[in-house]
């Protein structure tokens, strides 16, 4: 197993910076595993165990507010 493959097996740590998130909902709409939801105007991580680390939320977040580790 390569280093990258084993890193993918580790549970994801998804962080949303609420003071930068403007609540556009792009991350929530295009997450293939429904990990995120909108709550109180910002994105919230509700099902981190389902995350497959595709990184699309981080790539498409216009506000630099989401990171996936």
């Amino acid at each position: 197993m390569t280093e990258e493959q084993s890193a993918r097996k580790e549970p994801a740590v998804i962080t949303v910076k609420p003071e930068w998130c403007k609540g556009c909902g792009i991350c929530v709409a295009f997450c293939p595993k429904d990990v995120l939801e909108m709550e109180g105007g910002t994105a919230k991580v509700l099902r981190p165990d389902d995350c497959i680390k595709c990184m699309l939320c981080e790539l498409r977040c216009p506000d630099f507010a989401i990171t996936v580790e």
Binding site: W20, G25, L59, C61, P62, D63, F64
Partner: protein, 270 residues
């Protein structure tokens, strides 16, 4: 996780762009491209004109120049000619590049000067209140076209190719990996390189055109950006409302600063 913080002026965040504006997505793609290419920020300059797109350099920790409306390309040309070893990136919008800066745009492409131009196309003048730009599609509503725009829009990428650019590509912020790839290719090209990036403006364009929700605008990009190979085989009817995406031109030709350098050497030896 990519560490964007290393590349941004964090004190200017959160940025000024509206919720769902794609400009932040482009900035991140540019940062990743610069990082992966290992470019020196000390030897790179970002130049912009006026508009939402042109706020980009203000958020980036690099040498930056925020200039007058439509005049990013003349400033960038001056920077490049003064020191051709610098990597010069121009950030402009559809209004900035094709309306007030239209003439500069075609002549910079004609000269084939080594600049990397990222043209954020959001179909509208966002910052000034949603007026039509030369790239607003026919039928779309704007604050200056309450009943729908009558004027056909520019094919800006086609214009750049016809004028003499070396590298021209069109992409969008939904297809974010492609966006990064094309920016990276443009940065590596010697000559005038244009990446036209379709980006949503939910506030000034979307609200007037039944796409107020940022997600709806992203879905529009997902559904209507067509790979150029497929687009070329489509009938006019099928092309209605679709936009081609891909590398539209990639040729090697004489570059202006290199030619200028040769001329200086020639004149000095005569």
């Amino acid at each position: 996780m990519f560490n964007y913080l290393e590349y941004i002026r964090e004190s200017n965040f959160p940025h000024i762009w509206c919720a769902g504006c794609g400009d932040g997505i482009i900035l991140k793609a540019l940062i990743r491209a610069i990082d992966k290419l290992g470019m020196s920020r000390d030897e790179s300059v970002m130049v912009s004109g006026i508009g939402c797109s042109s706020r980009t350099p203000g958020y980036m920790d690099i040498n930056t120049l925020h200039t007058t409306h439509g005049r990013a390309l003349p400033f960038a040309t001056g920077v490049k000619l003064a020191n051709p070893d610098l990597k010069v990136i121009v950030i402009t919008g559809d209004g900035d590049a094709t309306a007030i800066g239209g003439n500069h745009f075609i002549h910079a492409a004609r000269r084939n000067i080594d600049l990397t131009v990222l043209l954020y196309n959001n179909y509208i003048y966002g910052m000034t209140g949603g007026q039509c730009s030369p790239m607003t599609p026919v039928g779309s509503k704007a604050s200056t076209a309450q009943h729908g725009n009558l004027e056909p829009s520019f094919n800006t990428s086609g214009l750049a190719i016809a004028a003499g650019a070396s590298f021209v590509a069109r992409t969008d912020v939904y297809h974010v990996q492609q966006c990064e790839k094309f920016i990276s290719k443009a940065l590596q090209k010697k000559g005038f390189s244009l990446v036209e990036i379709m980006t949503p403006c939910p506030t000034a364009y979307g609200r007037r055109n039944k796409m107020a929700n940022p997600v709806t605008m992203m879905e529009w990009l997902k559904d209507n950006m067509v790979p150029v190979a497929k687009y070329d085989k489509m009938t006019d009817q099928e092309r209605e409302g679709k936009v081609s995406a891909g590398i539209l031109c990639d040729i090697d030709k004489a570059e202006f600063t290199a030619e200028y350098d040769k001329l200086i050497k020639k004149v000095r030896t005569e």
